[in-house]
């Protein structure tokens, strides 16, 4: 009896209360308009035929994906061979983004730790300072990075003056410059999530571990790091993913040799290549790679949590 009444109530609330659905509508509109629609559009474009100098012809084609994977010679009549060019671009992008993430982690973790252990008022000032560079446009920041690193820039001038080097280091137009650029662009994305977890960390746990004969290194490795790991992972994802698709830093700092996926895609829409389906296909491949990586990460942590 009671359950039946309960179910009736539930039905009434569920089926005859349209207000509930109207309230979710804005959220669905945002997700649909800004997330699902663009992705679907890109997905559809990647299976269409290219129009020269931009645009698409509405005709199904696998040409974009074929171009990405296979080399059929200049006139397209040779037997297909694996096309390494784009795979190399992807590989380089993953490497550069990985290095940038590592740099951010190495610098960002101690920074976040330092800030989180300051008194509350001082903390706010430090956090503000970390975000200050973000008030300047990314393009300008990247250009100024180039200015800093170039052969006649302040860094090399200083090193020459001090006598550490005999000739300028020639950092610009190398992979290192790209990594530094990405590192500079995304460092706050590493600092903030780590700060958030370290701030919540109970330092009595470190004391307890030290009390139980653990030295400083062991406390860090066995207690602090495992507990703040979610912040480290979140920061790494937040740095790695945008780094992977970045095109400003590689363009401005890396030169032609350090071409990354972002630049490749940019070329297809804004540049001379003008191949929308190919740009879309490259985007979809990039997206799939990121999603697969995140999926495996989520499954891994899910398992650890249950164990």
């Amino acid at each position: 009896m009671a359950t039946e009444i309960g179910r009736d109530d539930g039905q009434a609330a569920g089926a005859f209360d349209p207000l509930k659905y109207w309230l979710i509508l804005p959220a669905w509109l945002v997700i649909g308009f800004f997330l699902l629609a663009p992705i679907c559009l890109v997905l559809v474009f990647s299976f269409l035929t290219k129009e020269f100098r931009g645009g698409v012809i509405w005709e199904f084609s696998l040409a974009a994906y074929d171009q990405f994977l296979f080399d059929r010679g200049l006139f397209g009549d040779e037997p297909p061979r694996i096309q390494w060019t784009y795979i190399e671009v992807f590989g380089r992008s993953i490497f550069q983004a990985g290095m940038a993430t590592l740099l951010c982690l190495v610098i960002g973790f101690p920074t976040a730790f330092y800030i989180a252990t300051r008194p509350r008022r001082v903390r706010a000032v430090w956090l503000f300072l970390v975000t200050v560079p973000y008030w300047v446009n990314l393009l300008i920041r990247t250009v100024s990075m180039k200015f800093l690193l170039r052969d006649s820039g302040p860094l090399n001038e200083f090193l020459l003056f001090v006598g550490v080097v005999d000739e300028p280091l020639g950092i610009v137009n190398t992979g290192l410059a790209v990594q530094l650029g990405l590192f500079y662009s995304y460092l706050p994305f590493m600092v903030l999530p780590i700060f958030a977890t370290v701030e919540r960390y109970d330092f009595a746990l470190s004391e307890a571990a030290a009390d139980l004969y653990a030295d400083r290194w062991t406390v860090l490795r066995k207690i602090l790091l495992p507990i703040v790991a979610p912040g480290i992972v979140a920061g790494s994802i937040l740095v790695f993913v945008p780094s992977l698709g970045a095109f400003l830093a590689p363009d401005m700092l890396g030169g032609a040799k350090n071409f990354m996926i972002g630049s490749l895609i940019d070329e297809q829409f804004n540049g001379n290549a003008g191949n929308w389906p190919f740009g879309s296909a490259a985007s979809m491949i990039l997206l799939s790679l990121v999603l697969v990586a995140l999926f495996f990460y989520a499954r891994q942590t899910g398992r650890q949590g249950r164990a």
């Binding site: 109970d202 009595a204 746990l205 004391e207 307890a208 571990a209 030290a210 009390d211 139980l212 004969y213 653990a214 030295d215 062991t218 207690i223 495992p226 507990i227």
Partner: protein, 366 residues
């Protein structure tokens, strides 16, 4: 059964001073704690008792003086190299490890083999009946279970001295009372020196071999619970431990066995305690409420004539507030062995009888 070894000093504080900036947390603490002793630091919050514990554990450094452990100066020895373990107030169990891993942590860090560690962990979990919870996370345990896990985690590496920082304060009353007995038993079984910090006098009295009462960073008095309760050295100690009647008194007459005192309201009482001052001089006396016998009949010449201002029934006891004819207020407490309580109504005339031996002259009558 006192398993106290008076010959070996486990922890010795030598004129320890601890300052945080301009604030002095500990002023000249000078103290010996014996091996196998259950020693309690008792005091209100902010009195410096936890700071003292942290100095022994090594989380804080002394500003002046020395902390010695079995005759060895601990100066410059970090916490991980002191054979001392701590039970933290909020347990500080590692949230990402199982209970077994938590308990085994210190044993492993000390260099035991995997097998030895497992054996110790099993023994420890059995000791506090947590064997079934070995593979759970701390968050899956109740407060009492977490408390016991934290306790054996600290005992597992067999420390020479165990420091307990208000370990029972987060538990409810029933559990707290059960844990007192368990803690005391554990201390006697393991023979480890326990240094226990609490603000709860009942906790201190029920478990400790000796108690140090602290306030404002000063160790006020050190001694067995009975001594501190019966012979508090000063007002601070008297007020902190138990309920008290603190009264001003003037020495009226001195004899071989004691003195006659004039209380503030002019009434005279006999006192057999050692009164170190001469006739005519003033000081303070302490009378515990349970030493005052209230009766409706006038049967004793030592009795103070009073009016009953209030009687509060507290189950086992009744608490009486009395106003003497001279205007002094006294608190008395009597067990409800019969119906005496009900026979006396508020406003009625009663007599308060105080045994001469129950009146204590305060040595430091400040």
């Amino acid at each position: 059964m006192m398993s106290q070894d008076q010959t070996t000093v486990a922890v010795e504080l030598r004129h320890v001073v601890k300052k945080f900036g301009s604030f002095t947390a500990i002023r000249d603490a000078h103290l010996s704690i014996y091996d196998n002793e259950f020693f309690t630091l008792l005091g209100p919050s902010g009195c410096g008792k936890t700071t003292l514990l942290r100095l022994i554990a090594g989380f804080e450094e002394v500003t002046q003086g020395q902390v010695r452990l079995f005759g060895k100066d601990l100066q410059d020895l970090p916490p991980n190299r002191r054979p001392v373990n701590t039970v933290f107030q909020n347990y500080a169990l590692f949230p990402h490890m199982t209970i077994a891993e938590n308990v085994g942590f210190g044993v492993r860090m000390k260099g035991a083999s995997q097998g030895e560690m497992q054996k110790t962990v099993e023994r420890m979990l059995e000791l506090v009946r947590l064997t079934d919870h070995a593979h759970k996370r701390p968050s899956q345990l109740s407060g009492g279970q977490q408390q016991r896990a934290a306790l054996v985690r600290a005992i597992a590496p067999s420390p020479r001295v165990l420091l307990l920082d208000e370990p029972l304060s987060a538990l409810d009353l029933k559990l707290r009372q059960a844990m007192r007995i368990e803690l005391k038993q554990l201390q006697q079984e393991t023979g480890i020196t326990f240094i226990f910090v609490t603000h709860d006098q009942e906790e201190a009295l029920s478990m400790s071999d000796r108690i140090a009462v602290m306030s404002d960073g000063v160790i006020q008095q050190v001694g067995p619970g009975r001594e501190i309760y019966e012979h508090p050295r000063n007002r601070t100690v008297a007020n902190f431990i138990g309920e008290t009647n603190l009264l001003g008194a003037i020495v009226h007459e001195k004899s071989g066995s004691g003195a006659t005192l004039t209380l503030e309201d002019g009434s005279r009482v006999m006192c057999t305690d050692n009164v170190p001052v001469g006739v005519g001089e003033s000081g303070q006396v302490l009378i515990r409420p349970e030493k005052i016998v209230v009766s409706a009949t006038e049967s004793s010449s030592f009795g103070l004539h009073c009016k009953l201002a209030s009687a509060v029934y507290l189950g086992t006891d009744t608490q009486y507030v009395l106003r003497t004819d001279g205007g002094l207020t006294l608190t008395a407490r009597m067990q409800n062995v019969d119906d005496t309580a009900m026979q006396m109504s508020t406003g009625s005339s009663v007599v308060a009888m105080i045994e001469p031996a129950a009146i204590r002259w305060l040595a430091d009558g400040d």
